[in-house]
Symmetry: C2
């Protein structure tokens, strides 16, 4: 898996990667942000402790992974790596940060002097954004000096936890919208800015939603920063600010004759909004334009959309779409579809942008190996709770495809020899080991790719369109049973035999210091 | 309520207010942020529509309020005004933002030229941060040109919704901690960075938590930005990175002899962690120091804390505190207290920083009045859902105290004459009008204070310590029945008779345009 390139090719890769991160760093949402102190105090106290004990340069491996899928989903869409790269690339302690740390009176000058010279010099391997991942799989794998890897834990977790959570929640909603047999292409539009947990949650949340398959966002800063299509027309206050609904509709259609959606629920959808929209649509037709859609933002969306559809069709306006919004999530959307609602696009706010029913992803960052006498030794974290025992050692993650379909993921030690897909491979459940299956003639995709090597960025961050495509391509290789939103099939994530044996050995060797009580 | 000062005094207020916002704008979390496009596209399309119709300068009044308390609480703690002031003070469209809007091909040049000159020129009255507020009370009241007030809706809602939500959730947790009769001063420490919905949620969430009564945060950027005390010691990886637990404890105590808390649950709390902590505490005593605390981060916190307390006490270490952390929220804290857990400080993460069980506050921004023929005319928004009918007109909010206790809030029209507390005042429930009470000899506190007048900042933003005091002082005037976390007493928020009569008149006059079907 080592990167083998001619020296010139390596330099070219670095140059392209660097040009790309400089471009990204100039985006409004990243530019000028001060983040070296976006960390927990205990990372700094531990760094200083290691520094003082002369252990800060000890080489360690840490894995970032999560233990349980959020929202009852069967997988997570990995997202947030761009933010991680941006953070690591710019991570420096300037005079202002050093002065603040000095003011805490916990850190001596020799440590602060060392900190002022701090650069990230480690390796980072990561799963590309937009990849489908599963519990316990390393999504990011850091290797480097203990003090460096320790410092970055908090911010890196924040970025990956947030964007992966929102991408996953958004995908649940997108899948719900696509389950409509009558309108399988109905787009989901992200409209949650005002209910987001502050600015970054709105902007990076809109990014994650777009990655996951939303068609656009109402958030202009997200549109500007990431090139996401922006959507939106008018709110109730527009309608209210005119003497009558038809005046408001006409004024809007005059301003945007080729991009008009009319909000029809301010007074009465069926007795006022739709009849007025039909009048304005006919006026637009007479001028050579077409009304794009009507939006229903309250009330019984199933009933109202069906009646509105019938009225529009009867008026010869079958081309006018119906957009629904009003506290929607994947459950209400699926239910509306089952009721035969006639919805051509879904505007989703609060539930998507906060992942309302599951607003945190529990990603963790755990020590997997540490250098002793020049050799990386695997580490394990035991726990009373068996699900919390970590997988030891420096690891790789392999996705195994049979006939183009993802069949299982295999977590293996990084230095295990490459698999030979011509030979049968026996996979077994790491807990219930009697559950076995044998595959052959499979394809192997290593999920972790090099991002930083020796502190040098070697990964050219993809653009958002490529990440979005990766989500679709990645998901297309999983069965609908894994993808379904409720009680999904549990996808196999197995351990290689060498990793499983190592884990068992360490578990049984583990002898915590116990006084004789 | 008009501000009456000699001209010199007015200028001095403005100068102080301006100096203060400049100081705040230099903080790391605010500095250099690009936010003019932190809005929904439809705000811009409506602005252009109004501009095109020549209505963009029409004077309007908008109220920001919420309809239902979050998390089953009986009130909300208003927070986020500092962010609103910062946003309005700096709101400009630069060449980059104009270029982006031009690229959308929806806006003609005359509008973009006008937008480049955009400044907020309106009035803002607001409830100071840290004030207890209730459903339907205007927390912010904007008055100004339609296009300006429209634009700011999205960002202002984001700031107020997020910070008020987290302050309210944090207060629930702080109140739970204070309900321990054995440890009524046990502080709550905010430790949620890694599970926050990205950077701003972490930093402004830590601010809101501190306002609401948390004693500190683990988040250094929040500490640096807002002067919040920072807390933290070591994580499990520190313990794991040493050959044994006692080595790890000793190394930490050597590095921070006067500020050591030891994490005791890596191997076994009672058989390893506490005995080792006792050893290290005795070693510290021999050097003239005192171990500050132990932290238990997993397992049965009730059982473990009681046993740990007994072991520490038996070793003569009754001064060593016990800090608990592990997926805590107000429910688990109250339950642990009922079980007699011996906890001296509570570390709270995910549930606080995301407001896990209620992750969005539904603040809205509604038209209350608009100028017609030079006069402000009250507006009402009707709805099938009676709870969503708005209160019309430009309003004030008065808190009425009897014997120093908050007795009721009164929403009144802004131009109603001042109340005369020497005379009896009859209050009545705005829905069930037979429910009446009469008060006399009461004190009146107007909750809305001027923040911007004619686009000029006239409000000197308080420091965070003053906001924090306001929370305590504000809450101390409410009964424990209003403050309790479950099934709280519904505090009276009544309408003045003139406002109630206006609302009834407008409701009955309301004749939506309805074709004869």
């Amino acid at each position: 898996m080592a990167l083998r390139h001619a020296r010139g090719a390596e330099e070219e890769i670095k140059a392209r990667a660097q040009a790309r991160i400089e471009e990204i760093s100039a985006l409004p949402v990243y530019r000028g942000r001060s983040v070296p102190l976006l960390t927990d105090l205990y990372q700094l106290t531990m760094m200083y402790g290691h520094f003082r004990a002369g252990k800060h340069r000890q080489r360690v491996v840490f894995d970032l992974f999560y233990r349980a899928n959020p929202c009852g989903n069967g997988f997570v869409i990995a997202a947030g790596l761009e933010q991680v790269v941006w953070y690591l690339y710019h991570l420096r302690f300037g005079p202002e940060e050093i002065a603040y740390l000095r003011s805490l009176r916990q850190f001596p000058e020799d440590f602060l002097t060392w900190l002022a010279e701090f650069r990230f010099t480690g390796d980072l391997y990561a799963v590309p954004e937009g990849t489908v991942v599963f519990p316990n799989e390393p999504i990011l794998r850091f290797e480097g000096p203990l003090a460096e890897v320790q410092l970055v834990e908090s911010a890196v977790l924040t970025f990956i936890n947030h964007q992966s959570l929102i991408a996953t929640k958004a995908r649940r909603i997108v899948e719900a919208a696509r389950s409509d047999p009558r309108h399988p292409d109905a787009p989901v539009l992200e409209m949650g800015l005002r209910r987001a947990q502050n600015m970054d949650a709105a902007v990076f949340g809109a990014r994650a939603a777009y990655i996951a398959g939303c068609a656009g966002t109402s958030n202009l800063l997200a549109g500007q920063s990431f090139g996401i299509p922006v959507v939106g027309t008018q709110g109730h206050s527009w309608i209210q600010s005119f003497p009558s609904e038809i005046d408001a509709f006409r004024a809007y259609a005059d301003a945007f004759p080729d991009a008009t959606t009319l909000l029809v629920d301010t007074y009465d959808v069926l007795r006022s909004g739709i009849p007025n929209a039909i009048t304005v649509a006919k006026e637009l037709e007479a001028r050579g334009y077409r009304l794009r859609a009507v939006r229903i933002d309250s009330g019984d969306l199933a009933y109202l959309s069906k009646r509105a559809r019938a009225m529009l069709d009867a008026a010869g306006l079958s081309y006018v779409g119906i957009i629904a919004s009003s506290d929607l999530d994947e459950r209400t959307i699926r239910d509306l579809i089952l009721q035969g609602a006639e919805i051509n696009a879904w505007g989703v706010g609060t539930h998507l942008i906060t992942s309302y029913d599951c607003p945190a992803l529990g990603g963790v960052f755990k020590l997997a190996a540490k250098e002793e006498d020049g050799v990386l030794q695997p580490c394990i974290k035991v726990s009373e709770n068996a699900a919390k025992v970590t997988n030891p050692g420096k690891k790789k993650v392999l996705r195994l495809y049979v006939d183009g379909q993802a069949s299982a993921d295999l977590i293996a030690l990084d230095d295990e020899p490459d698999l030979n897909p011509a030979e049968p491979l026996e996979l077994f459940d790491p807990v219930h080991t009697y559950k076995r299956k044998v595959i052959q003639d499979y394809q192997v995709e290593p999920l972790l790719v090099p991002v930083f090597l020796g502190g040098q960025l070697v990964y050219e961050l993809p653009d958002i369109a490529a990440i979005r495509r990766r989500v679709e391509e990645s998901l297309a290789k999983f069965s609908s049973e894994v993808r379904r939103p409720i009680n999904p099939h549990i996808y196999h994530v197995d351990l290689s035999l060498p990793l499983w044996e190592l884990k068992q050995r360490l578990l049984h060797q583990m002898r915590p210091v116990r006084p004789q009580t």
